[in-house]
């Protein structure tokens, strides 16, 4: 099944008769070549017609998502978001029309709509067309909108060039969004990002402000020289989660000096080798 089919199936299974009929009719009209106005009106009406409850997909359904579109992770989607993306996909004609309509929709969107449109990015036709749209979503100051692009969304990993990717990671830290739900975070670690993050940590230290322990996750694989000194400082002076993060970061560095440094802290070193520390636990403290 393609994503539009699984979305429709999940929604119909969860909606009352009236709401399901409204959605089916709306999608059908758009498939038959609906006008811009048909699309804009039906997308606006979604929460009034079908509500905003969580979609709450089960494991089998999450499996369907991955088969329909590798990397797609809709576990946090709600009914209105799924329905809005479904309607957008139903209206698909060609890439150019689709992007024009998406731009129009975003220009007049409310917060809930923006979250839905950005969560849908990995499902849209002609993926390379939406790079600027994704970058726009990353520039927002509305955390929920930013997270719609950055969290559990394979689109940035697949499409953003390195500078835009690095800005996204840095911005997540700026606005207090966690890094762990960013798909491809480890695979896209790069030396430029590691340097930017260390500079950022220094700024925060200078201002006497806390540094997110997650920051070190993207530093580790490229840590050498001065960056190792930064990690050493965290090991020496940091809080427990910060020290755990520094230890994990050192264990991911290819530099032999990193393992040397880690070994000077036997307890942490053992905790790493026994896999007692994880980035997931650091991102989601109890």
């Amino acid at each position: 099944m393609i994503p539009a089919q699984v979305l429709e199936q999940w929604l119909i299974a969860r909606l009352s008769g009236d709401a399901a009929a409204w959605l089916k009719n709306g999608a059908q009209r758009l498939r038959g070549g609906g006008t811009d106005k048909d699309l804009y009106m039906s997308v606006s009406l979604v929460p009034r017609k079908i509500g905003k409850a969580d979609l709450e997909l089960n494991a089998a359904e999450l499996g369907q998502a991955t088969s329909a579109r590798p990397g797609w992770d809709p576990r946090e989607w709600s009914l209105d978001q799924a329905a809005r993306v479904l309607l957008l996909l139903a209206s698909e004609s060609d890439g150019a029309t689709f992007s024009r309509r998406l731009d129009q929709l975003c220009a007049t969107a409310d917060v809930g709509e923006l979250v839905a449109f950005y969560r849908g990015l990995p499902l849209y036709p002609d993926p390379t067309r939406h790079v600027l749209r994704a970058a726009e979503g990353v520039r927002t100051n509305m955390k929920a909108v930013f997270q719609a692009v950055a969290h559990r969304n394979p689109y940035p990993f697949e499409q953003l060039a390195e500078p835009a990717w690095n800005q996204m990671v840095l911005k997540a830290l700026f606005i207090g969004a966690t890094l762990d739900p960013i798909i491809g975070l480890d695979r896209r670690a790069n030396p430029a990002l590691a340097r930017m993050l260390c500079d950022y940590a220094h700024e925060r230290w200078a201002a006497g402000r806390p540094v997110s322990p997650e920051l070190w996750r993207c530093v580790g694989p490229h840590a050498r020289g001065e960056m190792l000194a930064d990690l050493g400082r965290v090991l020496e002076k940091g809080t427990a989660p910060e020290r755990a993060a520094a230890a994990l970061a050192l264990s991911s560095s290819p530099d032999p000096a990193a393992s040397g440094l880690l070994w000077t802290y036997p307890e942490l070193s053992v905790a790493v080798s026994e896999k007692k520390l994880s980035w997931q636990a650091i991102a989601n403290p109890a």
């Binding site: 606006s44 009406l45 969107a109 979250v115």
Partner: protein, 308 residues
């Protein structure tokens, strides 16, 4: 005591205002679409403005634990640029069904020109088509006859008075508005329109049925705490707490709640998904207790940064 300010232009206000409003017990606000102090020249400016009402401003308010609703419409002053107004009328339907839009507003008359009349009627028709409430701005000049005319036209267009709010009332207009079954809102402005002492007397004389107050605070001299301050004065002057509650909270909720977009549970007990997307403040039930009748606290840093 909790308060609703059902007419305030937060886009023109600062975060200090939001902090003080939340501290004073304001839990929800309605931001009517209006003008920016000077006329817009492009339809694109309206689009960006209305998008900010359903987007950024809604988010900004939520960060301070205040629920933000808005009304969408073409204001009467700018209706006088007919060519532009036609284009604005065309984009309004794109916004009327957005989340948190509680009415078509603020619409009505300013100079009471024929063009203003044309777009007032066109927007009343839109309200009927979309089954929406209406929020009417009454003119500052020639107020009494302008208010009467606003109601006449609404009735002529088939609007149910129960679904229309007449705003910026005064002692001269209130009786007729109530007699005809509309909602009567009063704007408490520090130096103009209604002062809060006058409002106390209106409450004494007309009671609390179909009456509520707002600040209409904007980029001009105005007070975003007008609702809680007037509530305090009403309590001090012996108006019953039950009536103060209706005038400063309950009636605005009842009027705009008819839209289905504004519900008490939004601030008393926000749904988890909504809190995740939007609402950063504590729900009232889970913590924050507004101070009854006390002067609103002013955050210390505002003194430090503004005056030193």
């Amino acid at each position: 005591m909790r308060f609703i300010d059902p007419h305030i232009h937060m886009s023109a206000r600062t975060t200090d205002d939001y902090e003080r409003m939340a501290a004073a017990g304001i839990v929800a606000i309605v931001e009517p679409a209006f003008w920016l102090g000077q006329p817009r020249t492009q339809v694109g400016s309206y689009i960006d403005y209305m998008s900010s009402l359903v987007g950024w401003e809604r988010f900004r308010a939520a960060q301070f634990g205040i629920r933000h609703y808005c009304t969408i419409g073409l204001n009467s002053k700018e209706a006088n640029n007919e060519a532009l107004a036609e284009q604005v009328l065309e984009v309004l339907p794109r916004y009327l069904m957005k989340e948190g839009v509680v009415a078509v507003g603020e619409i009505g008359y300013d100079d009471q020109t024929p063009v203003e009349d044309k777009f007032y009627r066109a927007q009343l028709a839109l309200a009927k088509e979309f089954d929406m409430l209406v929020q009417v701005h009454t003119p500052h000049r020639d107020k009494k006859s302008g208010t009467t005319r606003s109601m006449d036209v609404a009735i002529e267009m088939g609007i149910d008075p129960e679904r229309l709010v007449i705003d910026h009332n005064n002692e001269e207009t209130v009786q007729e508005v109530l007699d005809r079954g509309f909602w009567a809102a009063f704007t408490i402005y520090p130096h103009t329109k209604m002062g809060n002492e006058r409002m106390v007397e209106i409450a004494r004389k007309y009671g609390s049925d179909h009456i509520f107050i707002d600040s209409s605070a904007d980029w001009g001299v105005s007070d975003p705490l007008a609702v809680p301050k007037t509530a305090r004065l009403m309590l001090e002057r012996g108006i019953a707490a039950k009536d103060v509650n209706l005038i400063c909270y309950g009636n605005a909720l009842k009027a705009f709640g008819q839209s289905g977009q504004m519900k008490e549970e939004h601030w008393l007990d926000p749904a988890p998904i909504d809190q995740r997307v939007l609402f950063e403040g504590n729900s009232v039930l889970r913590g924050q207790v507004p101070r009854v009748g006390e002067p609103p606290a002013v955050p210390q840093h505002s003194d430090a940064t503004v005056f030193k």
